[in-house]
Amino acid sequence: MGFLERLFGRGEPSSGRVAKERLRLVLTQDRAGISPALLDTLKDDIITVISRHLDVDVDSVQVTVTQSNRESSLVADIPLKDQRGTRQG
């Protein structure tokens, strides 16, 4: 990456930055014992359950594992479809 590209924040991220994000991801998965495949399964199941009761924006659902120090949490972000259009008035 050239000096100017870096100066203006363009181009590919540095390999050190990429390494940090990859390390963060593998550590998160290793510590929680959760593989990407399991996360996908969880996501599908969560969508199925919530959809019975609410109108879920399926394409925007994100299920991730986050770390705080060495503690892991499963975080599900489940946006709901805009209800205004369907509201009875």
């Binding site: 390999s15 050190g16 390494a19 390390l23 550590l27 060495r70």
Partner: protein, 278 residues
């Protein structure tokens, strides 16, 4: 007969991944601690892949080894070899022609219980991996140092080991980041010290820069810490030893500042090269 020394520190040096510099660190820390007046014994726990003897230049002095002691072919005292120049540094070598099934947790506990009587610090050079050799190497520890390199595979394996050590309740492990290349970090092409510490979330006790002097010293069988003058890695080993002994040693810059940086600091003293310092 020496009195029982209940303050003896039993420090296991481990990493998960092989080839990150465990044996080099053990040899150099042993030297640095002995030079500071500590009575040190280093144990090579890598049975079948003996190397600490070579690192310390003692390969021609070995008569008996760890497994000879365990199988009662000799007494512990007979297997422990004194360093050629440092009167307070001793080595208990590994067996070369046996494998790790020859050693068990109880064997290591028994040997360390004997060695604490005459030493202030016991350093145990753990084998790579997380299997039997790792288990018996950490069993006697009351402190653990984790060695890693600033690379994804090494850091990932270190994290696994940190988890296992926490589960064993060995007290908080402390981290040594070995073979950092300051120029690569500056260019953004290597994980920085701050990155590794943040993600592994354990205390840092030392940073050792990549330094060809480590290899050159090892070639001669004389660890760099014996005469660290002018070598950043040699100083880094001594700094780790000092921190182990409770001194508050600030983390040093990993290389001398260049002319441009000195100029920048001169015109703007608040700007410090913090990413390189830690």
């Amino acid at each position: 007969m020496a009195e029982d020394n209940t303050d003896t520190r039993v420090v296991t040096i481990t990493s998960g991944k092989g080839g990150v510099g465990k044996t080099t660190l053990t040899a150099n820390l042993g030297v640095a601690l002995a030079m500071r007046g500590q009575r040190v014994v280093v144990i090579d726990a890598d049975v079948g892949l003996r190397n600490l003897d070579v690192m310390l230049g003692l390969e021609n002095r070995i008569v008996y080894d760890l497994v000879d002691v365990i199988e009662e072919r000799c007494r512990l005292r007979q297997a422990v070899v004194r360093h050629k120049h440092l009167s307070k540094l001793f080595l208990l070598p590994a067996a070369q022609t046996r494998d790790k099934t020859a050693v068990g947790v109880q064997d290591m506990l028994g040997i360390c219980a004997e060695l604490v009587k005459d030493h202030d610090v016991i350093l145990i050079d753990s084998p790579a991996g997380i299997e039997r050799g790792f288990r018996y190497a950490i069993a006697p520890a009351n402190e653990v140092l984790i060695v890693t390199n600033p690379e994804v595979p090494a850091a990932r394996d270190a994290d696994r080991v940190i988890g296992l050590i926490e589960a064993e309740e060995k007290g908080p492990a402390r981290l040594v980041i070995n073979r950092i290349k300051p120029k690569l970090v500056e260019r953004g092409e290597m994980l920085s010290i701050a990155d590794v510490v943040e993600l592994l979330a354990i205390d840092l006790i030392g940073v050792v820069p990549e330094d060809q002097d480590v290899l050159i010293a090892a070639n001669r069988g004389q660890p760099l810490a014996v005469s660290p003058d002018g070598s950043l890695a040699g100083h880094a080993f001594h700094n780790i030893a000092r921190r182990m002994l409770g001194e508050d040693v600030p983390f040093q810059p990993l290389r001398e500042p260049g002319v441009f940086e000195r100029f920048l600091r001169f015109v703007s003293p608040g700007v410090n090269a913090s990413p390189r310092r830690i």
